[in-house]
Amino acid sequence: MIKLDNIDKRFNPGTINEVYSLRDISIEIREGEFVTVIGTNGSGKSTLLNAITGSILPDSGKIIIAGKEVTHKRDFQRAKYISRVFQNPFMGTAPDMSIAENLLLALLRGGKHYPRISLNADLMAYFKKEVTQLEMQLEDRLDNMIGTLSGGQRQAVSLLMAVIKEPKVLLLDEHTAALDPKSASQVIKLTKMFIERARLTTLMVTHSMQQALDLGTRMIMMHKGQIIDDIPANEKARLTVDDLLNKFADIRKKERLTEDVVEQLRREYV
C-alpha cells in the first residue's frame, strides 16, 4: 500500500543549520499492516510521516501510495488516500464549528466540495451513531462548538474524523502524547477498535515503547534518518521494553566508533 524508494531529505542544505533528516529510506508497507515506529530524538520519525502525507516534499526518491505515484503531489492532493491524526489535539479540529460540521468535513475528505447542503437529518442521525462509539457522551452535543470540548474529547473526535471515511492509509503521529492517562487509554482503545474493524493500513509513531510493542503487526526503529531495525510480528511478540532499551544502548556504543573515527584511527595507527 505504501512504498518509499530511496527517499532523501535535507533541511537548510548547505548552511550551518543543515539537518539530514531522511537518509536514503526505502520501505514497503503492505495492505492491512499496522506498523509502529519508534526512534531516538531527531531520528526522522515525524519527517517520515510528513513525507508520506506530502507536508514536505523529498529531495529525491519516489513515494507510491495505493499504486499511484504521489512524490510531487501536495498534501491536499494526497488527502484522498491518507488521513492523519496530529499530536496536538487542537490541530485536528476547527474550534468555532460544531462537531457535526467537523464530521461533515471529514466525510468530504479528498472529494469535491459542492455548494449543496448535505447536513440533513439523516446525516445527523448517522453522525450520532458514530459519535456514540466514542463513549464520551458527545452524541447529544453534536451542535456544540468543538472549542468547548476537552483535549481528550477533541482527540477522540479527530480520530473518528480520520476513519469516518475509510482511508487507504491512516497516519498517527504520537496522537496520545499530549493527553492525560485516562483519555490516552480511551483513545488507544478506540484506535485499536477502528483499525481492526476496517483492517486499515496504519503507520503509528510513538514515544511509548510499551505502546509500540502492544499494538500493531510490525515495528520499525529509526535512528538518525535511517531505519535500523524492522521487526515482524512474531519476533515483536517476544520482545520486552528492556530488550528495546538494550538495542538502543548498543547503537549508541557503536556510535562512538563511527566511520570517520575508524578512518582516523586507521590513518594514525596503521
Binding site: T53, F76, S83, G92, M97, E101, N102, L104, A106, H113
Partner: protein, 940 residues
C-alpha cells in the same frame, strides 16, 4: 425624518460591504484593506457603464466582478508570493487608485440624471415618500441577499470555507486546497464590496475617486457593533449582525449630526462609540451577581439575555444623547422668523476661505446680522467626500438656503436637495456636474457664481510678452476635477497655436511640487503657466524657487500669488465670488425664484503684472500691456526701496475686543503713512482660538519671511516668540509680558521683540474701592487659574489690596458651572466688595453674579466698561482702540528704522472709567465730584 431614513438606507447599501468584510475578517481570518480600492472600483465601473447607457443591473453585476477581481489579486499575491495579507491588501488598494482613475477617465463622474437602479426603483414608487420606498426595497434586497449568502455558508462548500479560515492545517490535511479557498473567499467578499460601491454611487448621485478612502474603518466598526448587539451563534445570525451593525453605525452618525456635533469629529466619535459598545456589556455583567434590588434584577435580566444587552446599551447612549441635545437646543433656540443659511466649503483652502469671508462680510453689509435676523452655519468638510454628504444631509434638516463653496460641495448638494435654494460659489464649471445646460437653463432651485479660469487670456498675455517659439511647463493634480479641466483647456489652446509646445507634470501632494518644477526646468521650458490647482497654489514658493535658478518667468491664474514671485497673472478676485453669491442669496430671500436667476460669471477679471519680477528676470513688458494692467507692483515707480515688504498682523481669535484693537492698529498704520512710504502690505492672520493652529500660523509667518510681525493678545505673543527669533516683532494687548519670560524689565527683553504692555487697571479699581468705600475690609474675587491673564490680574490684586489695606478673599473655578458655589462661599465669608478682573470664564456670568450681589447689597467692581450694562457698579477698563493705536505707533518706530532691542517695552493703560450712579444711592454712598469727572460713562 429624512435624516433617519437616509441613514438607514445608507446602512443597507453599505451592508453588502459589511457582510463582505465579515467574510474576510471573521470567516477567512484575513484583514483585508483592498476594500478601500474595490469599493471605488465598483462605483467607477458602474458610473462609466451607466453614463454609456448600459443596463443598470448589468452595471451592478459588472461592479461585482471588478470587485472580485481586485480581491482575487490580493489573494493571489498573498498565497502565491507568501506576502503578508495586510501588505498584499495595501499594495492592491494603492494600485487600484490609479486604475480607478483610468476607468473613470476623471476624478469624478456625476450620475445626476443618468438612469440607474435607484431611479428605476423610484420609478415604480406607488406613492410613498421616495426615501421610505427606497428603504423598503433596500430592506427587501438585503434580506434576499442575506438569506442567499447565509445559506451558502451552510453548504458543503461554505462549511469548507469556514473550516479553512478556522483551522487551515486541518483543512489542508482533509484535502482542501487552502490557497484556492482563500482566493475564492476574498474574491467573493470584494465582489460584494463592489456591489456596495456601485449602489452607493447611484444613491448619492456621483462616483468620486476619493469615496472609498476609509471605508474599511466603517465596515469593521459595523461588524464589531453588530457582533456586540446580536450574540447568537448561527451563521444566519452572524451575517444579520453585520447588516444590523451597518445600519446602527449610520444611525449613530445621523444622531451625532442631529445633536449638532461637528462633522469633523465624526471619526473620533466612531471610535469612542465602538469602544463603549465593546466595553459596556463586560462592565455590566461583572457587576450583576451582587445586585438584589428590583431595579438591579431588571438590569441583570435584560443584560442576561445576550440579544438585548447590546441593544440596551445603544438605546441608553441614544437616549442620553437626545436628552443632552434637547437641553442644549432649548437654550439656543432662535426665533422662528430667522433665515437659516448653511454655508459649506470643501476644504480649508485659501481661495475658498476668501470666498466664505467675503460672502459673510457682504451679507452683513446687506443687512443680515448673524444671530439677529439670520443664522449662518459654517461647515468645512476638510477635504473628505463622505463628510460633504453628511453635512448636506444635516443642512437639509433645518437650513432654508444652502450655499456651497467649491465644486465638490455643489455636486453633492444639487443631487440631494431639490426643495430649497442652493447658491454655489467658486465653481469652475457648474455644467459638467449637472447643474444645468446653460446660464438660463438650469436646475430650478440652483443658481450661483462661477468662472472657469481665463486660461485663454493668460496664454494671450504669455504670447505678447514672449513672442516666438515657446516651450511651456505646467503642473497640476489629476485627481481634482477642476485642475484636470483647466489643464485640458490649456492643452487644447496650445495645440491650436503653431509654435508653442507643452510639457506637463502631475503631482498628488504639495511635497512633490518642487521636484516636478525642477524636472520641467531641466527640460528646457521657457515659461511656467500654472492653472488654478489647490496643491500647486499651496506650494507656489517651490515653483518660484525652481524657476529662479534659470530665470524662468511664471504666469498664473491665481492673482493672490502674484506678489510671491509670479511675473503676470490673469484671473479673478475670489472675494467677488463671495460678494456676488451674497447678492444672489439676498435676491432669493427677498422673494425671487432661483429658477429665474441665471448663473453669473465672475464680473471682474483682473490682469496684474509684477514689474519687480520683470526687472529681476530682465524681461521688458510691452507698454500697451502695461496700460491694460489693473495692478502693477513696482516700487521704483513710487521712488521707494525696490523690495515690497509684508507685515503680519496676528490675532488669536475673532473676539470682539481683539477686533477693536486690530482696528486701532490698522487705522494708525494707515494714518501715519508708513504703509505707503515703505510699500508695506498688511496680512491679517488668525489662529481661530486654537493653539495648534497658532503654532502653525507662526511657523508659516517665519517661513514666508515676513518683514514685520504685530501680535495681539498673550497666546500669540508666546507662540510667536518661541518660533521666531529674527523677524522684528511688536506685541500689543498683552497684560504681562514679563511673566511670560519675554523680558525681565522694559529695557531688557528678547532682542527682536518689543511692544506695549497693558495691565488691567486693577490698581485703579482697588484705589477707587477705597475711595468710595472707606470702611470696607474684605474684597472677594473669583478667577480661573488656567487663564494666564487672570492669574496676572489676581497676583496684582493681591499686592494692591495689601497696599490699600484690604483683605483679598479668593475662590477659584475651572468652568462657569462652579461660579455659583464659589460666589456663595465668598458671601459666607462676609465680603464687602466684589471684583472681577479680566477672567473669561467669569466674564460669561457677569449678569448672574451682579443679580446675586445686588441681593446682598455688595458693590460689584469690574475691569470691563461694558459690564456697567450688565449690572456692575463701577468698571475701570482699558480703551481697546487706544491700545491698538499705541501698538501701531510702536511698530512705526521699528519700521522707521529703530531696532526692537533699543525700544523699551511701554506700559500703556488707557483707563476708561464707567459708573452706574443709580446704584450709588442703593449702596448708600455719595460719589465724589472729581471721580465723576474722570468717568467716561455715567449711567443714571
Amino acid at each position: 425624518m429624512e435624516l433617519w431614513i437616509g441613514a438607514i438606507n445608507l446602512g443597507f447599501l453599505y451592508a453588502f460591504m459589511a457582510m463582505g468584510v465579515f467574510i474576510t475578517f471573521r470567516i477567512n481570518d484575513f484583514p483585508d484593506i483592498t476594500v478601500d480600492g474595490s469599493f471605488t472600483s465598483g462605483a467607477a465601473i458602474t458610473a462609466v457603464l451607466l453614463v454609456s447607457g448600459f443596463n443598470p443591473v448589468l452595471a451592478v453585476i459588472a461592479s461585482f466582478f471588478v470587485g472580485a477581481i481586485s480581491g482575487g489579486m490580493t489573494a493571489l499575491i498573498h498565497t502565491r508570493f507568501k506576502i503578508n495579507g495586510l501588505l498584499a491588501g495595501i499594495l492592491v488598494m494603492t494600485g487600484l487608485y490609479s486604475i480607478n482613475l483610468h476607468i473613470m477617465g476623471r476624478s469624478n463622474i456625476p450620475l445626476l440624471n443618468t438612469p440607474g437602479v435607484i431611479s428605476c426603483i423610484k420609478g415604480i414608487n406607488p406613492g410613498l415618500h421616495d426615501e421610505i420606498w427606497l428603504c423598503l426595497i433596500f430592506a427587501l434586497m438585503i434580506a434576499v441577499f442575506w438569506i442567499i449568502i447565509s445559506t451558502f455558508f451552510k453548504t458543503d462548500l461554505g462549511v469548507t470555507m469556514r473550516a479553512t479560515g478556522n483551522n487551515p492545517t486541518m483543512a489542508g490535511a482533509l484535502g482542501v486546497n487552502v490557497n484556492a479557498m482563500k482566493i475564492f473567499g476574498i474574491s467573493l467578499s470584494n465582489g460584494m464590496v463592489g456591489i456596495s460601491g456601485s449602489l452607493v454611487a447611484q444613491y448619492q448621485g456621483f462616483a468620486d475617486i476619493g469615496m472609498g478612502i476609509g471605508v474599511i474603518v466603517f465596515s469593521l466598526a459595523s461588524v464589531i457593533i453588530g457582533e456586540s448587539v446580536l450574540k447568537m451563534r448561527s451563521i444566519y445570525a452572524k451575517f444579520l449582525s453585520a447588516v444590523i451593525g451597518s445600519v446602527i453605525f449610520r444611525l449613530m452618525v445621523a444622531l451625532a449630526l442631529y445633536v449638532g456635533l461637528n462633522p469633523i469629529d465624526l471619526k473620533l466619535i466612531t471610535a469612542v462609540f465602538v469602544l463603549i459598545v465593546l466595553v459596556a456589556p463586560k462592565i455590566i455583567s461583572r457587576k450583576s451577581p451582587k445586585i438584589t434590588k428590583p431595579a438591579g434584577k431588571f438590569f441583570t435580566f435584560v443584560t442576561g439575555k445576550r440579544f438585548f444587552a447590546g441593544l440596551f446599551i445603544i438605546a441608553l447612549i441614544a437616549g442620553i444623547a437626545i436628552f443632552g441635545y434637547k437641553g442644549i437646543k432649548s437654550r439656543m433656540s432662535a426665533p422662528e422668523k430667522v433665515i437659516r443659511i448653511g454655508v459649506v466649503q470643501f476644504s480649508d483652502h485659501s481661495l475658498l476661505n476668501i470666498t466664505r469671508d467675503s460672502f459673510i462680510a457682504e451679507m452683513e453689509k446687506l443687512g443680515y446680522e448673524n444671530g439677529k435676523n439670520s443664522f449662518i452655519s459654517l461647515e468645512n468638510a476638510n477635504g473628505d467626500i463622505p463628510t460633504v454628504t453628511t453635512i448636506i444631509d444635516k443642512f437639509h434638516r433645518d437650513q432654508d438656503i444652502i450655499v456651497t463653496i467649491s465644486t465638490a460641495c455643489t455636486q453633492a448638494a444639487i443631487n440631494k436637495i431639490k426643495d430649497r435654494p442652493i447658491v454655489f460659489a467658486t465653481v469652475a464649471n457648474p455644467f459638467i456636474i449637472g447643474a444645468g445646460k446653460s446660464d438660463n437653463d438650469h436646475l430650478p432651485n440652483v443658481t450661483g457664481v462661477y468662472g472657469a479660469a481665463p486660461v485663454d487670456k493668460l496664454l494671450e498675455v504669455v504670447r505678447q510678452i514672449l513672442p516666438g517659439k515657446l516651450k511651456i511647463g505646467a503642473i497640476w493634480d489629476p485627481s481634482q476635477a477642476n485642475s484636470v479641466f483647466n489643464a485640458a483647456q490649456l492643452k487644447e489652446l496650445i495645440s491650436k497655436s503653431g509654435n508653442i509646445s507643452l510639457v506637463g507634470a502631475t503631482v498628488t501632494n504639495s511635497s512633490e511640487v518642487y521636484q516636478a518644477a525642477v524636472s520641467l526646468v531641466n527640460k528646457g521650458i521657457n515659461a511656467f503657466v500654472l492653472v488654478p490647482d489647490n496643491i500647486v497654489y499651496s506650494a507656489f514658493e517651490a515653483v518660484v524657487k525652481a524657476a529662479s535658478t534659470k530665470k524662468i518667468p511664471i504666469f498664473i491664474n491665481d492673482v493672490e500669488r502674484l506678489k510671491d514671485g509670479a511675473l503676470a497673472a490673469y484671473g479673478y478676485d475670489y472675494t467677488l465670488s463671495g460678494i456676488q453669491a451674497a447678492r444672489l442669496v439676498d435676491r432669493i430671500i427677498k422673494g425671487e425664484n432661483p429658477s429665474h436667476i441665471p448663473f453669473e460669471k465672475y464680473s471682474k477679471a483682473t490682469f496684474d503684472i509684477n514689474m519687480n519680477v520683470a526687472k529681476n528676470l530682465g524681461i521688458t513688458i510691452p507698454p500697451d500691456l502695461i496700460a491694460k494692467a489693473t495692478v502693477i507692483h513696482d516700487d521704483l515707480k513710487k521712488g521707494v526701496p525696490a523690495k515690497p515688504k509684508k507685515l503680519a498682523l496676528f490675532l488669536f481669535s475673532d473676539h470682539k475686543t481683539v477686533e477693536i484693537v486690530a482696528k486701532g492698529v490698522i487705522d494708525e498704520l494707515k494714518r501715519s503713512g508708513v504703509l505707503d512710504k515703505y510699500n508695506i502690505t498688511v496680512d491679517i492672520k488668525n489662529a481661530q482660538n486654537d493653539f495648534g493652529m497658532a503654532h502653525s500660523v507662526a511657523q508659516d509667518i517665519v517661513r514666508q519671511q515676513y518683514d514685520y510681525i504685530i501680535t495681539l493678545s498673550t497666546p500669540v505673543l508666546q507662540v510667536t516668540a518661541n518660533v521666531n527669533k529674527k523677524i522684528p516683532h511688536i506685541f500689543g494687548f498683552v497684560t504681562d509680558p514679563f511673566r511670560l519670560g519675554i523680558a525681565k524689565d522694559p529695557y531688557h527683553h528678547q532682542e527682536n521683540i518689543t511692544g506695549v504692555a497693558t495691565f488691567e487697571p486693577v490698581e485703579s479699581a482697588i484705589k477707587a474701592m477705597r475711595q468710595l468705600f472707606p470702611k470696607a475690609k474684605r474684597i472677594g474675587i473669583i478667577w480661573n487659574p488656567a487663564e494666564a491673564c487672570s492669574e496676572a490680574c489676581t497676583y496684582k490684586a493681591r499686592d494692591v489690596a495689601k497696599k490699600y489695606k484690604f483683605e483679598l478673599l479668593e475662590a477659584t473655578v475651572s468652568n462657569s458651572a462652579e461660579i455659583n458655589n464659589a460666589l456663595m462661599s465668598l458671601l459666607n465669608k462676609k465680603i464687602d466688595i466684589f471684583l472681577t478682573s479680566g477672567d473669561n470664564t467669569v466674564n460669561l456670568s457677569v449678569e448672574m453674579i451682579a443679580d446675586i450681589l445686588k441681593k446682598y447689597k455688595i458693590p460689584y467692581f469690574t475691569n470691563s466698561p461694558e459690564d456697567i450694562d450688565r449690572g456692575a457698579f463701577v468698571s475701570i477698563g482699558t480703551d481697546f482702540y487706544d491700545i491698538g493705536t499705541e501698538t501701531a505707533k510702536m511698530a512705526e518706530r521699528v519700521i522707521n528704522g529703530e531696532k526692537p532691542k533699543d525700544v523699551p517695552i511701554k506700559e500703556f493703560i488707557p483707563e476708561k472709567i464707567a459708573i452706574n450712579l443709580s446704584l450709588a444711592k442703593f449702596y448708600g454712598i455719595k460719589v465724589p465730584e472729581e471721580f465723576l469727572k474722570k468717568a467716561a460713562i455715567v449711567k443714571k
